[in-house]
Symmetry: C2
Subunit: 285 residues, 2 copies
Amino acid sequence: MKTYLECIPCFFQQALKTARLISHDPDLHERIMRELLQKLSGIDLNQPPPAMGRIVYETVRQLSGNPDPYQHIKKKFNHFLMELYPEFQQKILAADHPFDAAVRLAIAGNIIDFGVNADITPDVISETLNQAVSQPLAGSIEDFEQAVRNAKNILYLGDNAGEIVFDRLLLEQLPLEKITYAVRGNPIINDITMEDARDTGITDLVRVIDNGSDAPGTLLDHCSDTFKAAFTAADIIISKGQGNYESLSDADKEILFIFMVKCPVVAKNSGYPQKSIVLIHQKPA
Amino acid sequence: MKTYLECIPCFFQQALKTARLISHDPDLHERIMRELLQKLSGIDLNQPPPAMGRIVYETVRQLSGNPDPYQHIKKKFNHFLMELYPEFQQKILAADHPFDAAVRLAIAGNIIDFGVNADITPDVISETLNQAVSQPLAGSIEDFEQAVRNAKNILYLGDNAGEIVFDRLLLEQLPLEKITYAVRGNPIINDITMEDARDTGITDLVRVIDNGSDAPGTLLDHCSDTFKAAFTAADIIISKGQGNYESLSDADKEILFIFMVKCPVVAKNSGYPQKSIVLIHQKPA
């Protein structure tokens, strides 16, 4: 999808929140905002929103000298959700349809996104997850299961720290030998990197690669050759989260998008209302 | 008060809402946003927010060729509130303290502000006004009444269309012969101009002047000599609304600010929570 004009004020809000998260220096906050005003005036709106996000967070990192503003938050949420992991593993195993429960939890876990909601708390997460199992889901889990069963080579694109624990719970319901799990190449917001995959035991379950990029999504032009080869080789992609949907909704590839709709722009583009948990099966042209 | 960094995303939201209000052309919307990204990168944040607002709406006017995007909305709300005028006049006259009731309604009427809330409806207005009479008010109405009684020459700075009807109801409780009422010099958002003062009968009650400026507030440097002379000659200013507060909160002048706190930045600056109705008596140094 392209970048909507609504994304402009949203990215300024994100930049300011991040600047204030990592520094109390108002001069630095102002420098970041001014630099972005200049940089964004020439942006290509035909690119997806993560292309703008990449520039925004790169500017914050460059001007602040902080290479990973959300590091402690990622650690905190990975830790918090790893503590809940055994409880949710039991819930999934005890469910009538463990695969169904695992998919729903993986999508609902996608609420843990600081780019969209910087004020999210563990309470909100717990509540959302507990609602998720009974919440209506747009899309067919049977179709998802069938597509996964037919595939030989699956690339699973992860999204955020914390929710990665639910990727693990879903992976445990999938044919592990077919799967490659991908993380971002460099820190960006609270998106997962290799460190998060290690911290949550994903590296012990499946092959994990990074995509070589610092975008909060999957901008193929910015990804490494290794990642692009894995993307091409996969006969199906499981794409988690808004950022990956925003980047790949126009890709000529079979993709199972699973995400929570968290902003009005993605609601407009996908046709699903905000807070929906959705599963979109995109087929190549 | 100065412009806060939070004002930047807010002004982009305002620009986009206004652009879409007056045109369905996405290319025009994009040109407006890009032009603003460039113009705002060099802005002086020590100026109050209405200085940025002035640039934002001037850009919308210039690029769209529409000199008054909110004209029909101003007419609509003036008309709607003039229909309610007899009812509220009765309420004020029947109140235990008519002056108190008139001040409260004038402040609550300040909710009619499209710069802050473009989606406001007549229902929201009615509800807010009816709550206003019993809502706690920060500040002393007795002190307000005393200050008005002691003054010889009062300049009343109006704010928005629609709520101007409540200015009229408050004016009816004030010593009319002492009062000059000021409107903006040119259309800006839904702020009042001479036309609104005429449409609501204010011109028949008191002397009305315009301030010569197209800012959504009172930027003295941008005002006409006539207005500045009236400002200097007044021994007290009654200043209605956030925009006038934002512009004059650092002025070395006796000012009675009456407004509803409608955004987090004014809440931070004034020390009152959002949705408060406040009366601040500012004394010269």
